[in-house]
Symmetry: C2
Amino acid sequence: MVEPQPGLSATELAAYFAFTEVSALLRPAVEQQLRDAGSLSYVQFQLLARLGDDPTGSRSMTDLADGLVYSRSGLTYQAQLLDQRGLVTRSTSPQDERRVVVTITEAGRAVLATVFPGHIAVVRGLLFESLTTHEVDSLATVLGKVGDRLRAAPPRSASPRRRKAS
Amino acid sequence: MVEPQPGLSATELAAYFAFTEVSALLRPAVEQQLRDAGSLSYVQFQLLARLGDDPTGSRSMTDLADGLVYSRSGLTYQAQLLDQRGLVTRSTSPQDERRVVVTITEAGRAVLATVFPGHIAVVRGLLFESLTTHEVDSLATVLGKVGDRLRAAPPRSASPRRRKAS
DNA sequence: TATTGTTATACTCTATAACTATA
DNA sequence: TATAGTTATAGAGTATAACAATA
């Protein structure tokens, strides 16, 4: 455990701190907007958005869990809340009766539509307001590259399911 | 409420999604490392790091709160935990007896030292591994710019203290 | 036997409001 | 009266483990 690598370079440190800072300010602002405009938690918004993106408007629980970092029980909890509000329905899959298919409802799409403009306004105001087109470009390129790599070799936290202890 | 602005451009969307994705994967990985290596929550780490950075090793509660987004009670809670573990001491300021001065202890510095290499390793592995020097550069520049702006005009979530209702 | 999902439970964290004490 | 901080309390969210049901 003797540090095999030197510390981060000054530029890396600056990039890391800046990333952390932006993230720490952006996230709560977005969460507050989602709560104010649609009484949605961030996870709930992600779930709805993902379902809304899908042409069928449906996904299995496992599908939904795989993209996010959350545990299955956590996902069940959030899906229940959405279900109770009528923003989503849950039904057993005919093909595989173990699976639960979650489907966004009209009401769910309506909430999404209500929330979206404000969401975009917050992101624009906090993240993009002061950036040039070129800077946005480079941000997309660089972070896109990082994201690609993380998706290809996900950290433990995103592993689909923990295997048995022994 | 007729959307006053068009949506985000394709590039902006890409940048935002990438940012979100990286953030969503980096944060839990860092949190897990901090917990495993030093039984620290992210906030606790931030507090210790900030105190460790200070030449005096001390800050008032308000000082500490201002940089972070958390409420005062939340900060008291975390500071208590650090205090109980002996990583920090709290004492009344002589100049202003309303203030509580938080000071990092030797044990606190030791935990910080224990945790730091792994912390850096995680950040390097997830964030910087695949980036060129130039890309890190541009990341630091662009996000630094965003951070500067956010610090100058903070969102409500970071406002020092909510004023009375009326 | 492995996989999908839910439930029960415990725990961590955060925020609000009321309160004490000092400036 | 305003500011600094704590405490009491309540609520949201998450994870772990045990469980039931299907493949």
